[in-house]
Symmetry: none
Subunit: 205 residues, 4 copies
């Protein structure tokens, strides 16, 4: 890209710190710039505005997260519905990749999850949930279709998708160590997968 990435990067690092401490709205461009030994004008030259600076901090993690989600969803669509018969450890691979990503961008994820109010990115979890829910809906319908007298409970589908996402958010908020995180997430996923079939697919009427 540009020749002098130095100021840009210094600004991103300092912004990350400030956003993490104070949240998007309370973060002060002045403080960020003072820390980066630049003036506020530089932000407007390099990033257009405060929102642009925030985007520069979080966009790469978001893109990688999106890519991972899409791959996960595509794989799930290819799967045989029978695969949803619960086998403990099923989703370990995806979970491992996700955890890897989440902890690689620990600060950025923390900002996105807890410090993004007012930034236009505050609804990332909701977006992820929507995305996943659509994918899971296909699976659930195939499952329900294959069993007579069954149908999908849409509220439970949404909620279970929600707590699945929440499980990772919770993990990130409560466990700073990646390896311990991987240990924690296993029974959680088992529970989620097993409950999915039992509570999302309900008796017709």
């Amino acid at each position: 890209m540009s020749i002098n990435n130095e100021s840009r990067e210094r600004l991103i690092i300092c912004a990350k710190k400030e956003f993490l401490e104070k949240g998007y709205e309370k973060a002060s461009l002045r403080s960020i710039c003072a820390e980066a030994e630049l003036t506020t004008g530089a932000v407007y030259f390099l990033f257009k505005d405060k929102a642009g600076l925030f985007a520069a901090v979080v966009s790469k993690p978001i893109e990688e997260l999106n890519a991972l989600m899409m791959r996960h969803l595509a794989e799930e669509a290819d799967e045989d519905p029978a695969g949803y018969i619960h086998v403990p450890g099923d989703h370990d691979e995806f979970a491992a990749e996700l955890v890897e990503l989440l902890y690689k961008y620990y600060d950025e994820m923390t900002i996105l999850l807890h410090k993004a109010q007012g930034s236009g990115y505050e609804d990332l979890p909701d977006k992820v949930i929507d995305l996943l829910e659509k994918g899971y809906l296909g699976t659930a319908e195939r499952l329900a279709g294959a069993a007579p007298g069954k149908r999908v409970n849409r509220y439970m589908l949404h909620w279970m998708t929600h707590i699945q996402v929440d499980a990772f958010i919770h993990l990130l908020s409560h466990e700073r160590d990646k390896d311990k995180a991987l240990e924690h997430i296993k029974p959680v996923l088992d529970m989620l997968v097993s409950s999915f079939v039992e509570y999302v697919i309900e008796d017709d009427k």
Copy 2:
């Protein structure tokens, strides 16, 4: 004394609206007062400051919530551990009361859950989780103690308490109708209670 609470109440109503729209920090005393047709000075006379006004909006709901939690916890402590063997519909009574309360103070609860950043009340869910977790730990230990070769998985205990609380938050955020909410919450609770025994109580080592 204060027979004439009119201004006070007008202020609370307008504040509720503003907090709901903009969140605690972005809420403007000026706007609130303009809407209530009073000057900002009136806020400082009637409530001490912005925080005091916020407290006036949310304190009653919080107190009632706390009282309900305490009662719930006390009842649970009295229960026979055998009671935890899952019978669908088990916790319906408590759930019903809780839903009743949550929807009675729908706006206030929404504010507390999503719009309280910076107010000193932002950690209400965490506090509730802590409270419940302590109560549930007792139950879980009695359960584990009664079964040989079992022990409590503390991370799962915390997480399951977390998603239980989250279940109600989710409900409030996604379903405006109280009766539908009651329908939604039933299978959720069933799942929670049943999974609790299975995943919180794990094999020793």
Copy 3:
């Protein structure tokens, strides 16, 4: 006076404290009234306004001080000019009375001297100096008139009156104990009286 002096007096006591701590301008009627367990309205009923409350705190000490000054000046006017020939201990009597008064109203005097900015009483020392200077001018002129080739240096007269007053202010600011104060003031007065003759009465041309 009025039947119920209680509120009035409580207000005066609390006001004295507040003025002493914060000075006239920074003193807050609200704080004073809160401390006195009354409302601000009471001040306006009992004292007209903030200035009136201040006056109520300081007027008695001022009156007594004025009375003492007048007496001192009258006595001095009666004196034989020869009396100004310096005899150490000369003015001890007046000094003792003044010190007595100053320390009887220690708080009030402190307020008047250091905490009265903005109250309309900030120039008390100047007024006292003016008063004394007029009296001393008579004495000085009689003295100069009695000695050929001598005249009064007006600037020195003013300055010496100034430091005489200042001597008492200084005393009050640096010595809380009345008896020690009386010890300190003696050589000061000796110096002042002796220098008076020497420097206020100068050679003609």
Copy 4:
């Protein structure tokens, strides 16, 4: 850099005027900025805050005053104690320099002496007195040591230092013309120097 100090200087000039009129606390940034045809934000950019603006007004005079004091004290320390035997006109040189400085910064000095309450600079005279007193204590002790049966009266030392400083404050407050001021101060200094030896050095017990 700052070739364009225009706003900064306009602000300082207007601030000086406002502080002189109303004192530090009552001075209004709004008024200052309105007069300077700038917004209050400019003050916060150019000086950090109200205190910073005040400092910008008075810091140079203070530094020069301090430098002069130090030089005076250093010279005095070098002097032969015998030098204290009173020769009228002794200290004229120092006095002349001091008066020069005081009248060069007439407005700033007036602000510092009478309008600085609340600014953190209100105790300038006390600081000067402390500084001088320490220097004079050395002189007084050498003097007392050289004469058998004599000792230093600390209260008189402090008070005489106080009135020395006060003499210049008095001068500044009562005489706007520098040359007349120089005339006035001469006999004052004579009196001070001569009384110093007589009243600060007292008989032992």
